[in-house]
Symmetry: C2
Subunit: 406 residues, 2 copies
């Protein structure tokens, strides 16, 4: 007998009919003789509805109250699923964050899980109960309700799997697994049978939306095998797991893209200590995330500094940077909001040379100019003009032979 | 400086605009220098929406899950009001049942408050915080969420006022007080300045919908002065309080009616011990409430037994009673679902003779037949044909001179 954690996202529980469908999947797992813990998101659209209410109530709603408000979405789905399961003759019980307890820090809207008390759930599992836990929510030390940020239910599921020492964590979603790239952009995209935690993490951080990056970090840390599966079909699935020998044979496992990028260049900056801090601290103070940062080699005591931000932050970032640029004696600030980032990811990259060169020449052959480059051991990202995004993904997919398993 | 508990019902918090209006009322009280604890219901219609979801999920939804589901309605309104108050520059904090804690028994859907821990709220009040508490909900010993039944937010408010030793409990609603009778039925209905707990309780139990009976019992028990006020105007209001000399001068304070009545008569029952128990235990087992019960004088060892139930319970009650009637050897069972109950209430009744006679003759003069009578020290109820309800209320209102204060 195994212990399985199953997580279902918002589109899987969007209405009563779909919740009944989820109940069937849960029961099928239970009837294999497994203990089952289910983690749910809110009904698709419900969290947005609640956020709209909060924003109608105030321009910048208080964090504590905001979290307590939007956590109701998951409270609705878990109780409804428990009602359905009980009416079908099964023992079932919903748990909210405070009932488990799922302890978090007090960073409202993006709290981090500090620990989960497994005892209450374990006792119910011993009685044969199907346990249904509200994703996305926890409580801080003072019993204030907190939420984990967008996609936080993935993290709830993996954290519960870790705390309960589950044998497996199944993430049910509206796609049937992790693909070599977005099938909507490249019709040769192929579902991966397996992917390593590190690759999945890079993919999630560079644009793949299938899993929240933090949930992957946590899965890696606690060595939780995660299956990404479809709620709507029984086929397919991708196992996110530890790196193994097979994986290293693949040079590139996946290609991601992120269209939500804008580029800011500070031109002719005096190259001296403290300049980077002077530029980036005011952005960080305003919660503006800077993604890639490139500093050119210094020429006669001056350099150019280029970085990317999220498109939605561009206007505010530009104002802040122009202000700083004057103070530090830079020549001017240039912005470009027509860019995108394309990345190739693969654990095999570290042991194969020529991967970067192949990426660059493939793009060059299509006339795609590379504006910025950043690399990690298992990833290369290029910033290009946004209009070339689909083309770049498509030609890279072919160049690295992702269509067919070699 | 006083401590005031303010309770606002569902129509008062039906949308963001109305919640902002409630915020103004709260702030006005706060700016008098008073400590304020606000208790809210769910947005009008929201509890019904959640109940419909539960009923779509299963024919008879599990009680624990049902309560946890429908308690989300109040969680939404209290957090939204706190967001509004904070955005207006006030300290405010929402509390859910488990955060207060409001301890109840485990009778889901109709839990009773066992005790309220005042400490957390008192600490916030000391800091100058406006405390906003979710009505209608509590938690049992095992931290399961419970709800108090329809209108339970009134009880939450009075119980909090008692636990916090508040100086006053204001129940804001869509009418501006307690009337001598329903103004929709009798246009001479007059708002009462004051009414005693006992009278209010009888009125609530015989058909007046302005307060939940249990909240009145609790107000009486803990001697909490309750003001019934309108959310939408500043005028009027009725104080529900201890009986005083003035009140006894009024023979009748109010007239109520209840159209949701059906009458069942068991004809020619052998008059021997155990018959009543045999008839009523099976009804109670099915949670069918029996209201008035009349047993005629025994004639030659046989009697007739008549009682009333809620109209919605009539079909089920009839089946059960017909079954019992056969077993105990009664002749037959007759039902009448075209009846109503009209009641007159007043603490002065006990010290004035002739009140009942006046009621009966007033109805007789209009040709209204009285089918059943039941009395308490401060109340007389008559069951009549439903079609005469408005007429009966109207003529009794005139007969007892309720239009003008004497």
């Amino acid at each position: 007998m195994a212990l399985v954690v199953q997580k279902f996202g918002g589109t899987s529980v969007a209405n009563i009919e779909k919740i009944k469908n989820v109940a069937k999947k849960v029961i099928r797992e239970r009837e294999k003789g497994n203990d089952v813990v289910v983690v749910l998101s809110a009904m698709a659209g419900e969290t947005d509805r609640l956020i709209n209410l909060a924003n109608a109530a105030a321009d910048s709603p208080d964090g504590r109250e905001y979290d307590s408000l939007i956590s109701t979405g998951e409270q609705v789905t878990v109780t409804l699923l428990a009602i359905v399961l009980i009416s079908m003759g099964f023992k079932a019980k919903s748990f909210l964050g405070f009932q488990v307890k799922i302890n978090t820090d007090q960073a409202y809207k993006k709290a981090r899980i500090k620990g989960i008390d497994p005892q209450a759930i374990q006792e119910e599992l011993k009685k044969g109960t199907i346990v249904v836990v509200a994703g996305f929510q926890g409580v801080d030390e003072e019993n204030n309700i907190t939420t984990l940020g967008r996609g936080g239910s993935d993290t709830s599921a993996v954290a519960l799997a870790a705390a309960l020492k589950a044998d497996q964590c199944d993430i049910y979603t509206d796609v049937d697994g992790v693909y070599t790239t977005d099938p909507n952009v490249c019709d040769r995209a192929r579902r991966l049978e397996k992917i390593s935690y590190d690759e999945m993490l890079e993919m999630a951080m560079t644009g793949a939306k299938v899993l929240q990056p933090r949930s992957v970090e946590m899965a890696k840390k606690y060595d939780v095998p995660v299956y990404v599966k479809s709620t709507f079909t029984d086929e397919g699935g991708t196992l996110v797991t530890k790196e193994d020998k097979d994986m290293e044979k693949e040079i590139v496992s996946g290609i991601t893209y992120d269209r939500d990028q804008a580029k800011i260049t500070v031109v002719h900056v005096p190259d001296k200590p403290g300049i980077a801090a002077a530029l980036f601290s005011p952005l960080s103070d305003k919660n503006i995330n800077v993604d890639m940062i490139i500093q050119n080699a210094s020429l006669e005591g001056f350099t150019d500094l280029t970085f990317t931000v999220s498109k939605k932050d561009l206007k505010e970032a530009q104002k802040i940077v122009e202000n700083t640029a004057r103070q530090i004696g830079a020549k001017k600030v240039e912005v470009d909001d027509e860019v995108a980032k394309v990345s190739i990811i693969g654990v095999g990259m570290a042991s194969h040379s020529g991967v970067a060169a192949k990426m660059f020449s493939t793009l060059a052959n299509e006339g795609v100019n590379i504006m910025m480059i950043s690399t990690s051991e298992i990833k290369i990202s290029c910033v290009i003009q946004r209009k070339y995004t689909e083309l770049a993904v498509s030609v890279l997919h072919d160049a690295f032979g992702l269509e067919k398993k070699k």
